[in-house]
């Protein structure tokens, strides 16, 4: 399980890079979903997100899931490439698989990589 040390994490398996403001799905989440075939970002640039609200809708060959805003923040960019290449969420969840970019986030409530690693292990991995 790949869990980058410098990122912050949520209990709903999103990561946030405090430096760039990018948000994505964790390696754990993508492996649980299996092959992702459809991604739809349901927020727009300029939206102010509420932590816990749906930001992305994902469908895999066997499941459908939503991804939630890890923090209350403003959306500054959306990864438009995802719609055409949803499989990068599986192959490269922490780089090409970024979903949105936010600014002005307070990350105090999020888990660090050690806490998230423990959280994943407790769920049987």
């Amino acid at each position: 399980m790949n869990i980058p040390a410098n990122f912050k994490y949520t209990k709903t398996d999103e990561w946030l890079d405090p430096i760039t403001g990018k948000v994505g799905l964790t390696d754990y989440a993508q492996s649980q979903l299996s092959d992702i075939v459809f991604v739809e970002v349901v927020v727009a640039v300029g939206d102010t997100l509420q932590a816990g609200k749906a930001i992305v809708s994902v469908e895999s060959v066997k499941a459908a899931a939503e991804s939630y805003a890890p923090v209350t923040a403003k959306v500054t960019a959306i990864n438009e490439e995802l719609a055409n290449n949803p499989e990068v969420l599986n192959s490269d969840p922490y780089d090409q698989g970024w979903m949105i970019k936010v600014e002005g986030a307070d990350t105090a409530g999020l888990m660090d990589s050690a806490a998230y690693t423990k959280y994943c292990e407790e769920r049987g991995h």
């Binding site: 075939v37 459809f38 349901v42 809708s57 469908e59 066997k62 499941a63 939503e66």
Partner: protein
């Protein structure tokens, strides 16, 4: 495997577990007088008695195959059904209670659905078709659900042409009653729909979908290309509710730029049968596939590299995506879709065109005959396909009563739905109507006018 849902002992175990003495106690919350009402049923009949009674009841029906000549359409049409259609439908391999999930044991059914989808896509001029819906009305209502989902609920207005089948509009309203949509347009005048600035003026930033019908409810044919362009310029999607037979002859809604083509598949080899089971077809563009409701069969290769068919993109459906799915309908009208696929395969492009041409020419012959009778006139001067609206010298109900006495099932009374079209009859003519029948219809109409 024996299938015994529960033995008396298991039933007692369950009652003990939840602390209830007997089965009757489970119904205690229902007021006693409603609990086991006397249904006043007659004594049970033997099979022989039941067959006799049902046989007698059925004598009360007038059948358009044996008793009546039909000129009634208005959404359901009397077409010839080749014997092969029923023969294939009755094969036991196709008798199944539900859509097959397991590709290992269902290749035939899945291939039939895939071919149905391919045929509907070709017929409508669209890129993708689902495995079908219940009927034309529900398929059109699903177009609303798809457009609503496509705009993620941010556009909540639906604009309807007033010339859409009134039953489709009623079903659409029932379907969407809890979606907080604004439905507008269908109280407009039924004049020249595509040039109707009144319709275009209703389209705003909040409009998700505009629906028009082709041919419209009055049988009129329009090229909607310019209208669709104007609607797209306002950012809304367009659904064309189409008759599948006309698509064998005229420009497809796909070629006009429609985003969704939906409609009633009954004319494709399915009998009138007192209103059902019918078939809803639904086709759209690939870009909307993830928001489309219904089952979808795809072609793939199995682990030996052989061509194989499977249900595909199922995660968008309600049994997986739950309340976030476009629709809670995730089944199809399997046997009727098969009938349509067999019908279309059997007729082919040329055969379907021939059916459509026969309908067109016979309807135009009938219109010429009827409008030659003093008191009868076409309500619109727009080109029409196999159905036309005729202003009559007397109330339609009165004319239809006389027609029935002469063995004719008369046209649809448009005044029921359109007060402005009082004493106006919608007549449908298909390849089933002979020249003699049309001449005889005209004779009775002439007689009624003078009576």
């Amino acid at each position: 495997m024996t299938y015994i849902p529960h033995s008396p002992k298991e039933r007692d175990d369950m009652l003990n577990t939840i602390g209830v003495k007997n089965l009757e106690d489970l119904f205690r919350d229902v007021p006693e007088k409603y609990r086991f009402p006397n249904l006043h049923l007659p004594p049970a009949l033997t099979e022989m008695e039941a067959a006799t009674e049902l046989g007698e009841l059925s004598l009360g029906n007038d059948n358009i195959r044996t008793d009546l000549v039909s000129f009634l359409g208005a959404g359901a049409y009397n077409h010839y059904i080749p014997a092969v259609v029923d023969h294939i439908l009755q094969r036991s391999e196709y008798s199944t209670a539900y859509t097959p999930y397991q590709p290992e044991i269902s290749q035939g059914t899945l291939q039939a659905i895939f071919e149905y989808q391919s045929l509907i896509s070709a017929l409508t001029g669209m890129e993708v078709s689902n495995a079908s819906h219940y009927d034309g009305a529900t398929a059109v209502a699903e177009a609303v659900a798809m457009a609503y989902a496509q705009f993620r609920g941010k556009r909540t207005k639906i604009v309807l042409s007033p010339a859409i089948n009134p039953q489709y509009r009623a079903v659409l309203r029932t379907y969407t009653q809890d979606m907080n949509l604004t439905i507008a347009g269908d109280t407009l005048s039924v004049g020249q729909i595509p040039d109707s600035n009144a319709l275009i003026n209703l389209i705003d930033d909040n409009t998700a979908l505009v629906i028009v019908q082709y041919p419209d409810f009055f049988g009129r044919i329009y090229d909607y290309t310019a209208l669709i362009d104007a609607i797209h310029a306002r950012g809304a999607l367009v659904c064309v509710a189409a008759n599948p037979i006309v698509l064998g002859l005229l420009k497809t809604p796909g070629a006009m730029g429609a985003d969704i083509v939906a409609g009633e598949g009954q004319p494709l080899g399915i009998p009138l049968s007192f209103g059902g089971p019918y078939l809803g077809f639904f086709a759209t563009r690939k870009q909307f596939i993830h928001k489309m409701a219904g089952r979808l069969v795809g072609e793939t290769a199995d682990n030996r590299g052989q061509r194989a068919y499977v249900l595909t993109l199922t995660a968008r459906e309600q049994h997986i995506k739950r309340e976030r799915a476009t629709s809670n309908i995730c089944t199809n009208q399997g046997l009727m879709a098969l009938a349509a696929a067999v019908y279309l395969s059997l007729l082919g492009r040329g055969g379907l065109r021939q059916v459509a041409e026969l309908c067109y020419h016979k309807a135009h012959y009938a219109a010429e005959k009827i409008t030659g009778i003093p008191g009868y006139a076409l309500s619109f001067d727009t080109p029409f396909f196999h159905e036309f609206s005729v202003g009559c010298p007397k109330p339609v109900a009165e004319i239809n009563a006389s027609l029935l006495e002469h063995g004719f099932l008369g046209g649809y009374d448009l005044g029921q739905d359109y007060p402005a079209l009082r004493d106006t009859m919608l007549l449908a003519v298909t390849e089933m109507n002979t020249k003699d029948e049309i001449d005889a219809l005209a004779d009775v109409l002439a007689e009624v006018a003078h009576a």
